[in-house]
Symmetry: C2
Subunit: 300 residues, 2 copies
DNA sequence: ATGAAAGCGCTAACAT
DNA sequence: ATGTTAGCGCTTTCAT
């Protein structure tokens, strides 16, 4: 069997793609989100005989290591996740000159660079969630946000505001996508506005925490307070009591699409079509935003 | 900066190790288990400047692909997880001749090969769990097992039997480590033995499903039925109602240790010591079994 | 001590 | 169509 090192030496191709996950906190892995994306990515990569090199970064010092690795030309491209606003990674990556697709719309304001990303329609999905609540006759609708240094959280908040134009600011409380902090946020919301009749939580994990607090306070869901989440993580959304009405995003498909866009950009695209939200068939890959769907269960 | 391909061509080293996760079902990623192991592995590898190449196998056909990759000499070694009894992977790996450390005791009976693995003391932990229940005065103790084609599940069942020597066979029901099937198993247990007063579930996820069924049937935990889990996955065990008494295993440490053993076997061991359950300091790496601890919360 | 050269195993370009 | 050869960028050996 052929020796890969010799092969790469002459072809300058490695058939390997780096997946960079910035994991500043413990949170990332408490959450099936990354696992699902990874799975989508893995499927697409193996279908193209490319390997997945996983780069987990725990802190600032790791960033330089990742930058070095990417610049070292070990991989043909990179898939990068969960950038926060102040993240030095994009700069490093650009300097490394590696073809990259981002997971989620990057947050930096610099419009000069043309970046390719895959995201869900967070804003549209949030609007649909809140409109659903309003359609149920709810008027005092609270929102538990995600961490506002991530665009997904900001976009969902914007969607909330699109519908609740004059929302009482006390009805919005920032949280961090974890169940535990979802509990804290729900308590705060209830303390500020005991008369609220609905909550839109920025993800399912947060919603599950909120549900627990509601029950603990003796409030019935959905009769007293209706709850909508975001993500539709099956193991969470179907197991809550009551089962969660939520905005579904196809996370595995996002991963698959990221890999596909990257591979295509690397000229390995074989003209394959199909799949919802496909980017332009020929030419340079462009960002794609996938649609979301409201899944009605019992909580709203 | 140096070209890695050229470097590997002459040094025959890649500073990369493969992590192979056999993922026959969807389950693997619903479960934070692998994420935690991965994190431990990643930490140790990056500390030694080695890269992590992730190989996910979805089905039989993927096995040959993995075998080919491993035999292709792309990586210096492999870390292999979640083997089932009938798994063709070990054979392929051995044929590929790649240094390997297994996660969890491999199940095949062939004692001829000397394999290196890292595992928790599943049997001992299970014994401790059941003794705790017995110490609470419980007599009709049920056991919801994991999938019995995995050694971890078998070992925990053996631990259960060590204490409950003459256990009524109806008190044992096989499950698959998921919350949903945990519910099913708990119902079955209750239908068979309405008088049971305790349950040892083979993992926390299963226990959480059992807890839900118990509440749904109006049984109080721990007054009517005491429950002990296994794993101590914080996001699960602390969030259940009531919080779960469980057997803790240090999953991240297992991952770290696997990587350390492998690296040492590759002669990259720099004499580093420390860490519980460390294998022999010099010489070839040997398997290590990490201790478990009972964590008392409210459910038993 | 520093520098020149051979060769790792492959692919691509060239010659037959 | 098949066979031959240069050279990818590094490390290691050997000579200065």
């Amino acid at each position: 069997m052929p020796n890969q090192a010799a092969r790469s030496l002459v072809t300058k191709r490695h058939d390997a793609v780096a997946v960079v996950i910035a994991e500043p906190e413990t949170r990332v892995f408490a959450d099936p989100f990354f696992a699902l994306q990874l799975r989508g990515i893995s499927k697409e990569l193996t279908a193209h005989d490319a390997q997945l090199v996983l780069l987990l970064t725990e802190g600032r010092d790791d960033h330089t290591r990742v930058g070095r690795y990417l610049a070292g030309g070990h991989v043909d491209g990179a898939l990068v996740f969960s950038l926060h606003l102040d993240d030095p990674l994009p700069g490093l990556i650009q300097r490394a000159g590696v073809p990259t697709v981002f997971g989620g719309r990057p947050g930096w304001s610099d419009g000069s660079r043309r970046v390719v990303y895959v995201d869900s329609d967070n804003r549209g999905g949030a609007r649909e969630a809140v409109r659903h609540l309003a359609g149920l006759g709810r008027r005092r609708i609270g929102h538990i946000t995600g961490p506002l240094d991530q665009t997904s959280a900001v976009d969902r908040l914007d969607g909330f505001r699109d519908v609740m134009v004059d929302a009482d600011p006390r009805l919005i409380v920032e949280s961090d996508f974890t169940p535990a902090d979802g509990e804290r946020a729900m308590r705060e919301l209830l303390d500020r506005c005991p008369d609220l009749d609905a909550v839109f939580a920025a993800n399912d994990l947060t919603a599950s925490g909120a549900l627990r607090v509601l029950r603990e306070r003796g409030l019935r869901v959905p009769e007293d307070v209706a709850v909508v989440g975001f993500d539709d993580m099956l193991p969470v959304a179907e197991q809550t009591d009551p089962p969660l009405t939520t905005v579904r995003q196809d996370i595995e498909e996002m991963g698959r699409l990221m890999a596909r866009l990257l591979l295509r950009g690397l000229d390995r695209g074989d003209g394959e079509t199909g799949g919802a939200g496909e980017a332009a068939v020929g030419g340079a890959p462009r960002s794609v935003v996938l649609p979301t769907t409201l899944i009605r269960r019992a909580s709203a």
